[in-house]
Symmetry: C2
Subunit: 141 residues, 2 copies
Amino acid sequence: MHHRDHQTDSVSQELRAHGVIPTAQRLRIARMVLNRPAHFSAEQLYEQVNEDGARVSKATIYNTLGLFVEKGLLRQVLVDPSKVFYDSNMTPHHHFYDVESGELADIDADEIQIGALPDAGEGVEIEGVDVVIRVRRSANR
Amino acid sequence: MHHRDHQTDSVSQELRAHGVIPTAQRLRIARMVLNRPAHFSAEQLYEQVNEDGARVSKATIYNTLGLFVEKGLLRQVLVDPSKVFYDSNMTPHHHFYDVESGELADIDADEIQIGALPDAGEGVEIEGVDVVIRVRRSANR
DNA sequence: GTTAGACTTAGAACCAGTCTAAGTCTACAA
DNA sequence: TTGTAGACTTAGACTGGTTCTAAGTCTAAC
C-alpha cells in the first residue's frame, strides 16, 4: 500500500468520528462516496474503485458498505428487488425512482409533508421513514 | 387435477375480471391470499400452499406472484434487502416494518398526510408512492 | 522485533429468483 | 371422439447479488 497521510486528513477524521478505523481501502471508498451526494450499488462501487487495476476486493466492498451503514455514514435504499442501492446523502430526504431506467433522485424532506405519524405502539422506536415515489418517464413527446 | 367448479365461483370470477385465466394452481393460491389482508414472501407462500404434500412448484409460485402483481391483484413491498414481500391489500396504504422481527403492519393511507408531491417533471407519470416506517420494538419490558 | 487483533483477500458457498425444455391441460374444430 | 394449438406447469439447472471461510497482511503497542 502506498504511504499517504492517512491519519490527519479530513476524511480520515470523519471516519474516526463515526467509530470507523481508517484503512487504506476504507479511505479510498470514503473519498469516492462520502461528502458528495451519490446513489450507487455495490457492483458499481466495486468497478469505480478498481477502475485503474484491481485493488479492493469484493468482500471489502461489501464489508465496508455494511460498516458505513451501521455507523451512519451511508443509508441503504430499497427500490430494486434485485439489489441494494446506497445513498451518501444522510440528510433527511426521500426518493424518486424511475422504474424504467433505475435512476434515483433525491427529494428534500421538506418537500413532502408527512402529517403526524400514526402511533406505533408502546415502547416502539421509529428508526426511519422512507418514502419512494415510483415514476415512469412515459413514451410521450 | 381434481374437478371443482372452477368456472363460476367468486375467486374465479375475480381472476377473470383482472385478465387472469383461472387454473387450479392459481385458484389455490388466490384463495389463500386474496380477499384477506396478508403479507408474505414467495417462500412462505410456497410452504403454505404445499402444507399437505407438494402440489405447486416453485416456478409456478413465482410465475403466479409476478402475474398477480402485473394484473393488479397484489403489490410488492420492498423492506428486506434479501427478499421481496407481497401484499394482498390493494387499497392505498403504507407500512410499518419491524426491523428486528421482519413483521409488516399496514397503515391506512389517510393516517399519513402527504402534502403536494414535488413536481416530477415533464411527461413523468407517478406510478405509486411507498412509505415505509422502520420501527424497532426495543429491548424494554 | 514480536505479538495480538483488526483488516483484507480469493474463491467457495449460499440462496432468492429466473430460465429451459419437456410434459399436461383445456377448448374447440372437424 | 380425436386432433390440435396454445397456455400453463413442472423439475431441475442456472444466475447473480451477497455472505462466508480460511489464510494472509497490516499496524499499534509492548
